[in-house]
Symmetry: none
Subunit: 232 residues, 2 copies
DNA sequence: TCATATGTTAACGATAGGTTAAATTAATTA
DNA sequence: TAATTAATTTAACCTATCGTTAACATATGA
């Protein structure tokens, strides 16, 4: 139930990055470390984080640019900037772009921990109340991913299990398009191995059974790639 | 609806306090200035604020003590500390006690503005729950959460216990929608662990018993997520 | 054709929830 | 202040739900 919180840490100084990652690990966070903005964005798209800690000055893609891209995908994710410079314009730019906090290096690691806690706490309510997209319509189905309800025409709704629910949502987010295996595995199962993969296949079968009332909806396999929900 | 946000500013240095108040006023906030912790607490009880900005070092009652008292009344209100000293222990103490941010004097006023904005943005959603609504009608029930009265049709009303009352209110604020376990636990029980969770289940059972006279009202469980009161 | 990927079902263990009653704590009242 | 009552927590026992895994079947592509 109380999973560890996942942090994306983007820091180009490898020594500092690794030390900080280990420190956060020791304090019960799951940390993914990326060593530049490019890599940071790739990791961000691939996994699902609760908070991002970004260095401002990095080669290829600086922290500000990265935040812009991140916020396009998820505008609610909290951001903490780390920076060596403390120019007023930079600080303001950071806040303007949607940062939640700003730490000047060198900073005290305990302070960082508390800032993380404070921010996650603040964000907890809004994530609990989570107002975004839960309602999907496809063919003759109505699907509410918040209530985990699937309804066909005027039938009574069926209840979906959490995994069924997430998987269906993910398929629908890629409706008529490939939903890569890997994506569902890393997002829903948070691990990509033989067993999670088989587990996912079981859930695909369960979903197919739920959807078979409607001949216009199919979940097709794309061998070695993933699945595709075709509809409408 | 789009009222100005109200700030409680507690600052013992009168010159600085007035300047800061005026600055915030100019930036479209309603500010109440108190010149020490005592007065701050009086003002806090008297009015309703969106955010508190507190000096740490003050005569009579310091910022930490004041926060303790404030959080007893409203644990969700965001707090920003202002301080001249930047001792690590003080900063940590601030966060531990529930501060949302910490500004070291002298600070840049624009930075303060952005911090306020960032924090209010995060807290926006929680205001959904800060309703003073206390009369509810659902199906054949009338419920007054101020009096803790629940009435079915023309029957005499039943009196609910404080916890029953809060839980029912919370369910009704989310009528026909998910009321997350975590939300009730953090807001009513102020803690989220095995025992509070079981305690909540007991209260759900009590409420179900109260509501069972009416076949059109149900409290459904959404496994692992929370409860949903369906009605009307 | 053979290794690998996927389809499907069923069984099992783990955890969440339903409910009642006893035990504990808090609030009232004598 | 002691006695009484109300409110809440904890324990106990039971059921429902969920996810994983094993087992066996079929499909795919080199």
């Amino acid at each position: 139930m109380n999973d560890k919180k996942r942090i994306l840490l983007v820091e180009d100084d490898p020594n500092f990055g690794i030390i900080l990652r280990d420190f956060l690990n020791m304090n019960d966070y799951d940390v993914v470390l990326a060593k530049n903005g490019m890599e940071g964005f790739e990791k961000f798209k691939k996994y699902d984080f609760h908070i991002c800690i970004l260095d401002v000055m990095m080669p290829y893609k600086d922290g500000f640019t990265l935040v812009g891209e991140i916020k396009e995908i998820n505008q609610d994710i909290p951001i903490i900037f780390l920076t060596a410079k403390s120019l007023k314009e930079d600080v303001l730019k950071g806040y303007k772009i949607g940062a939640d906090d700003y730490l000047k290096k060198p900073f005290d690691s305990d302070v960082l921990l508390y800032k993380i806690k404070a921010i996650l706490k603040r964000n907890k309510l809004s994530s609990i109340l989570d107002t975004d997209e839960h309602e999907f319509k496809f063919s003759s189905f109505e699907f509410n991913s918040k209530l985990r309800h699937l309804k066909f025409k005027d039938n009574k709704h069926t209840k979906l299990s959490p995994k069924e629910n997430m998987l269906l949502k993910m398929l629908l987010l890629h409706k008529n398009d490939l939903m890569p295996r890997e994506l569902a595995l890393t997002r829903i199962w948070r691990d990509d191995n033989y067993f999670t993969s088989r587990s996912m296949d079981v859930y695909i079968a369960k979903l197919r059974k739920q959807l078979e009332i409607d001949p216009n909806v199919k979940i097709n396999n794309i061998h070695g790639e993933g699945f595709r929900l075709v509809s409408d």
